[in-house]
Structures are given as C-alpha cells and as structure tokens.
Symmetry: C2
Subunit: 152 residues, 2 copies
DNA sequence: GAGGATTGAATCGCTTACGATACAAATGTA
DNA sequence: TACATTTGTATCGTAAGCGATTCAATCCTC
C-alpha cells in the first residue's frame, strides 16, 4: 500500500474522470434535449423503446442498469408527457408493460438529428475517431465486469 | 444524417457507457465508503482537501467540476460530521474557506487503504493496466474539451 | 393445494446535481 | 464618491439515483 497519499490524488483515480465526464456529457446534451422537453435519463428510456420496442419495466432497468425505484418515477413523467403508456400485463399482474404512444414514436424522427448535432459541436476538435471507439470499447468492458461484481 | 436509427442505438453512443460506468463505479465504492460514513461525492471533497490543503468553495467547485449549489450543501453535511470547518474569509467576506478538522485530517490515513481494496476487488479480472491508463488519459482529454465548450 | 420463497414494481427517505435566481461584498468606472 | 457590474456563495425547485423496505402476484416444493 502506498502511504504517501499519491494514490488518493484525483488525477490518479479512474472513478473521478468517469464521474466528471459523465456529468459533462449530460450537460452537453441538455440544451439539445430541452427542445424536446426531455432530460437525459428520459431520453435514454426513449432510446431503449425506439430500439427494442415495447418493454417491461424490468427490461428497461436491465438495459439501462438502473433500479426500479429510479425507473418507475421516470416512466411516470414520460407518461404524463404522453410519450408512453404503462399497462399491467394480463398474463402476469406483477409486470408493467411500457409502450410508446404515437407521439413517442414520432419523436424518434426528430431525435435522429441529435447525434449529428453533437458531432458538429465537436467538429473543430481534434478527437481521434479511433480513440473514441477504444474508449467506448473499454467502457463497455468495464461495465460488464462491474455489473457482474454487483449482481446479487 | 443516418435515418435508419442505428445512430440512436445505446451501443453506438458514448454518453451512455460513460453514464453507466460512472454509476457502477460509485456503486462499487459505496460499501467501502460506508465504513467511513461517507458518500462518494463527499469522499471526492475530502480527496481535494487532503491533496491541496485548505480550499475556498470556489476552488473545490473548479477541481470537481461541480456547481456551488451542489457543493455548498455537501460541505454543510461534512461540517456536521465534524470533518471540516467553514469560515468566511476576513480579506473577502464573500469567500468561504474550507479547512479540515483534526478528524478530517486523520481520516486520510484510513482512506489510504481504499485504492488497494479496489484493486484487490478486481484482482481476478484480466483488465489490462495499459488499457486502464489509456482510458484515464482519454477521459481527461474529453473532460478538458467539454469543459471548455461549457464555459460561459 | 397449502405455505413459504421469489419476483416485479412501487414507496419512502436521503443525497446528489443543476438551472435559475438572489444577495451581499468587492470591483470598476464615470 | 455614486452607481453599475462582477464575483462568491447560497437558496429554491425539480429530477435523478439508490438502499431499504413493502406488497401483491407468481412460483416452488412437498
């Protein structure tokens, strides 16, 4: 064990840059999503539904790695915005099925412009495409490892 | 612009893995920090103070890339725990100086074991050391770019 | 088929996060 | 020296996040 304290320096940690980068990306998204009256987590829920179609609460939780106590209120807010519907399953009364409304489905066409807007925002930056792909790959690997560690 | 929607897939985004990895790392830290009755953001504040000594609220905000409306209540909670003191500067009444108490300073020695505990938790995982360093480097680069974008 | 274990969603309480804003202290400028 | 501007911190309101727990529906085991 290092006892000089350098192991505790912010620059030597992995968690801090993850934490900061995550918050900053969300902050970059905010003005883009505001046009659609969405928050970033709400946008993530819609991404799941656009990509995978109707989902149960549980499926959304697993795909986003969130707990039901986070997702439930999130879904209620999206329901209030008329973007989706919540309905108990007939087969299993415990399950709540989430389905997009017409409006929620239609929003996808507008959202398609978001990735390009982000790319344009960074057009003047010299970020290596490969570096970003590697970053993404390592992150998914890390997520996988941590997720397994955290399973009951 | 891609119109097939694949650009909206979770797997093709950078923001989502950042967001998920950040939350999962925090979750990994939680049981370790619980021994010290600390949350992860509270731990970050202490890291700054251990590393840089007495700081103003503003300095802490800048080092952690957080807003004052997040940091102020955080500092109040740490003050309640007797880990630090808040005191208005004499020279400039607007400035609040944060200093560690004896207890806060002493906690550092115990916290030194945290990085090793994390490493041990992942000892059986084949995470390439270089890959982690690269990840860290890319993250700091990204943070730098985004931070500049977001400045007023 | 009774009775305990499990599961899916939700409730509660607490702690972040942050946009918008307030407010006093300090600074700049006419 | 008045007065507008800037700066540092804090307040308010809202939305996440999550641990702990609840509760009903379902499953399992005998």
């Amino acid at each position: 064990m290092k006892t000089d304290g350098t192991a505790l320096y912010l620059e030597n940690q992995l968690c801090f840059p993850l934490y900061a980068a995550s918050r900053l990306t969300t902050k970059i998204y905010t003005p883009l999503l505001k046009e659609f009256d969405l928050t970033y987590p709400q946008y993530l829920v819609l991404l799941v539904l656009w990509q995978h179609g109707n989902q149960t609460v549980n499926e959304i939780c697993h795909r986003l790695l969130l707990e039901s106590n986070t997702v439930t209120p999130l879904l209620k807010r999206l329901e209030e915005k008329k973007l989706l519907q919540r309905k108990r399953s007939d087969k299993d009364e415990r399950v709540v099925q989430i389905s997009l409304t017409k409006e929620g489905e239609a929003l996808k066409q507008h959202a398609l412009s978001i990735p390009d807007k982000l790319i344009n925002a960074f057009a003047d930056e010299t970020i290596d495409e490969t570096e970003i792909r590697n970053l993404q790959k390592t992150l998914f690997k890390l997520i996988d490892i941590m997720n397994k560690k955290l399973l009951p």
